[in-house]
């Protein structure tokens, strides 16, 4: 049997808009993945610690407040510091195209912007998790 994809979803920063993250959580679950939603106002450290603890394939982060250029790099740093860069980091929110390109260059695997179907996220995660080689 194929291993189930495990995903940690989180909302970092002060933003409380959780409609998107909950929709994604439900869609990933319906697609047969295991989803852990951490809730609101998680620091990058809390997110990365939880991801390691839960042994997930990917971290999905939702930011609608405009603080994405601060929060994504902080999570990437934290992953590096904890030697966990094998965990896929993806995200979504109100993120302008230029920032999206820059974030993907920094190491965020994928950014989904408003209007993206959940189907896209499911497909992305299946592929990315399938080709992932976890560190021991």
């Amino acid at each position: 049997m194929e291993k189930k994809v495990r995903v940690l979803l989180a909302k970092p920063g002060l933003d409380g808009h959780d409609r998107g993250v909950k929709v994604i959580a439900a869609a990933l679950r319906d697609a047969g993945m295991e989803v852990i939603y951490t809730g609101l106002r998680q620091t990058p450290q809390m997110i990365v610690d939880a991801a390691i603890q839960e042994d997930v394939d990917a971290i999905g982060v939702s930011i609608l407040s405009g603080a994405h250029m601060t929060l994504f790099p902080a999570i990437l740093e934290e992953l590096k510091a904890k030697d966990a860069t094998d965990i896929i980091l993806f995200g979504g929110g109100i993120i302008p195209d230029d920032d999206k390109t820059e974030l993907e260059k920094m190491g965020v695997a994928k950014i989904f912007t408003p209007g993206a179907p959940t189907e896209e996220a499911i497909k992305f995660l299946r592929e990315a998790a399938g080709s992932r080689s976890p560190k021991e």
Partner: protein
């Protein structure tokens, strides 16, 4: 209104029409006709769909004249012919200086009210220099740390003339206190001030999630402020009970209506319990609804809201003052309906949504800018949004007559249905132990999350078409409208300004007043005056919130409220 005989005749005619129509119904039609909230809609509405319409007192009881109980048709007898709705554009970004500039621009372009957006640190009760604020300063609104920032925001604006709305909840008392302190310094008497504070904490637990303290002390903060304003700032709307965010979080129209009114009744009960007289405070309550894209459903929602509220105020809370029965409301078009794809189409969506708010009798209106799924509005986008209201007001003719859709079989039937669904929700909430228990147990949150997911599934299965998103898309679309960027310097400058204030103020006195606030909060006294005293001395918003956190603790969302399906 419709005599029994008349209805009999329509019934006969209806079946012959139905037989004839059958020939035109084909397999080509859509499998289902339903509103944006998922409510099935009939092919045709006639007097037969209006329940109880054969009763002699139907018209008087259900519809009546505008300005008369139960206010289905509007709260004023003459509505927009004598008082146009307020064109109130929500604005606020980056530094206090830039926000002041945008405010002056809005007023110069014919805006008739101001509405202030704060950044997330301000909304969450942190100063710009606290670690939690990193990267968020000035991003989704203006940063306010001390009275000095409020002085800049309202510099050169006559507070005695313009009504000012402020979207702030957990720290609402602090922001209002700073605003009153600005007015005092400008020499504007407090009884001349007009405006609205959002101050609706319940919908924060339910939908927007910008909460600090647990529900009980949060409600105490609100009733403290209400008591102060009744005496000192009599024209101020101390609370704007908001469905907007509930809808944005994904609720249906009926949920928006029911949960918002349930919140309203919860505040009313709290104020009565705090010893306030319903007829004194109720005229200062106002509401805030969303205008989504389903045109008739929205109009029915506003009409039902007025009728339900009037009935409950009169019958359940025994208000005697007619002004206590009036549901006055602000409307904002639906941000969640805007698309990042082909963003110019958002101008059209917003115009239609705004039209529904006007046909539904709103008292004031904010129209969204086309670029709000991309960033804060650019000046050009903000201007088009304001112009949209002006076109509706001056060119379309819809403001010429009161409640132009009153008597439409469809709209009346839909209004009745909305009222019925709201009453069913009230019964359910009551059964579950009331609003606070429902929040704690995640009832509202789960209902909303479920509706949001259902909506998304309908889009993905193409049962629902969103123009430019899942149909009528453009290949390789490149967005080429200008997008506002908040300068990274903004955070650094705001922190520098804050540190300067902290160095120059009377720090001894600030500490004395913060200690006093702590004492008052601990003893259960009225917190508002203590907050006002702190604000006058340039105590920071974060310092005051920290004092209250130390007394009341912080609210943490129950995992039950985080369930997704």
């Amino acid at each position: 209104m419709f005599a029994g005989k008349f209805l009999e005749k329509i019934k006969e005619k209806f079946s012959s029409w139905d037989k004839n129509a059958e020939k035109y119904r084909s397999k080509k039609s859509l499998p289902r006709f339903f509103t944006i909230s998922g409510e099935d809609i009939n092919e045709l509405y006639t007097p037969l769909d209006i329940k109880g319409s054969s009763a002699d007192d139907y018209f008087e009881k259900q519809i009546n004249f505008p300005g008369e109980y139960p206010y289905t048709r509007g709260i004023h007898p003459t509505m927009y012919r004598t008082k146009m709705w307020t064109f109130r554009q929500f604005a606020g970004m980056a530094s206090p200086e830039e926000t002041n500039e945008r405010f002056k621009y809005i007023l110069a372009q014919g805006g008739t009210g101001l509405s202030t957006a704060f950044d997330l640190p301000t909304l969450m009760g942190y100063d710009s220099d606290q670690p939690q604020s990193l990267g968020e300063v000035g991003k989704c609104g203006v940063a306010v740390d001390t009275l000095a920032d409020m002085e800049i925001i309202f510099e050169g604006i006559d507070l005695g003339k313009v009504s000012v709305s402020m979207t702030i909840n957990s720290p609402a008392s602090i922001i209002l206190a700073m605003y009153l302190a600005v007015a005092e310094k400008k020499g504007v008497p407090l009884d001349k001030l007009r405006g609205t504070l959002q101050n609706d904490i319940l919908k924060e637990y339910i939908a927007q999630k910008e909460f600090i303290y647990p529900p009980k002390p949060s409600i105490k903060l609100i009733t403290d402020m209400m008591a102060y304003c009744l005496k000192n700032v009599p024209q101020w709307n101390t609370i704007s009970i908001s469905g907007y965010h509930i809808r944005e979080a994904g609720s249906t129209a009926a949920q928006e209506l029911a949960f918002t009114l349930a919140d309203g009744f919860c505040y009313i009960e709290a104020a009565i319990e705090a010893g306030l007289d319903v007829d004194e405070f109720a005229p200062r309550l106002s509401f805030f609804f969303n205008a989504h894209s389903d045109f008739f459903e929205e109009i029915a929602k506003y009409r039902a809201a007025r009728r339900i509220y009037a009935r409950h105020m009169k019958e359940r809370y025994k208000a005697k003052n007619q002004r206590s029965w009036l549901l006055r409301f602000h409307t904002q078009t639906a941000g969640c309906s805007l698309t990042a794809q082909q963003p110019e189409n958002n101008i059209v969506r917003t115009a239609i949504q705004a039209l529904s708010a006007v046909m539904g009798g709103t008292q004031s209106l904010h129209t969204n800018a086309m670029d709000e799924t991309l960033a804060l509005p650019s000046e050009r986008a903000a201007l088009i949004a304001l112009r949209t209201q002006q076109v509706i007001a001056h060119e379309t003719g819809v403001a010429n007559t009161v409640d132009p859709l009153g008597g439409s079989y469809f709209v009346e039937a839909l209004t009745d249905k909305m009222e019925k669904e709201a009453e069913e929700y009230f019964a359910e909430i009551e059964k579950r132990g009331g609003v606070l228990t429902c929040i704690e147990e995640g009832f509202f949150q789960t209902e909303i999350a479920r509706a949001a997911y259902q909506f998304q599934k309908e889009i993905e299965s193409k049962e629902r078409v969103i123009v430019g998103v899942n149909d009528y898309t453009l290949e390789n679309e490149k967005i080429d409208i200008p997008v506002l960027k908040i300068d990274k310097e903004c955070e650094r400058k705001q922190i520098a300004a804050l540190q300067k204030i902290k160095a120059e103020r009377n720090n001894g006195q600030v500490q004395v007043l913060l200690d006093k606030l702590k004492q008052v909060a601990t003893d259960g006294g009225n917190t508002f005056e203590a907050i006002l005293e702190c604000s006058r001395e340039y105590a920071t918003l974060g310092e005051m919130c920290d004092v209250l956190r130390s007394v009341w603790g912080e609210h943490v969302e129950n995992p039950a409220a985080m369930q997704v399906s």
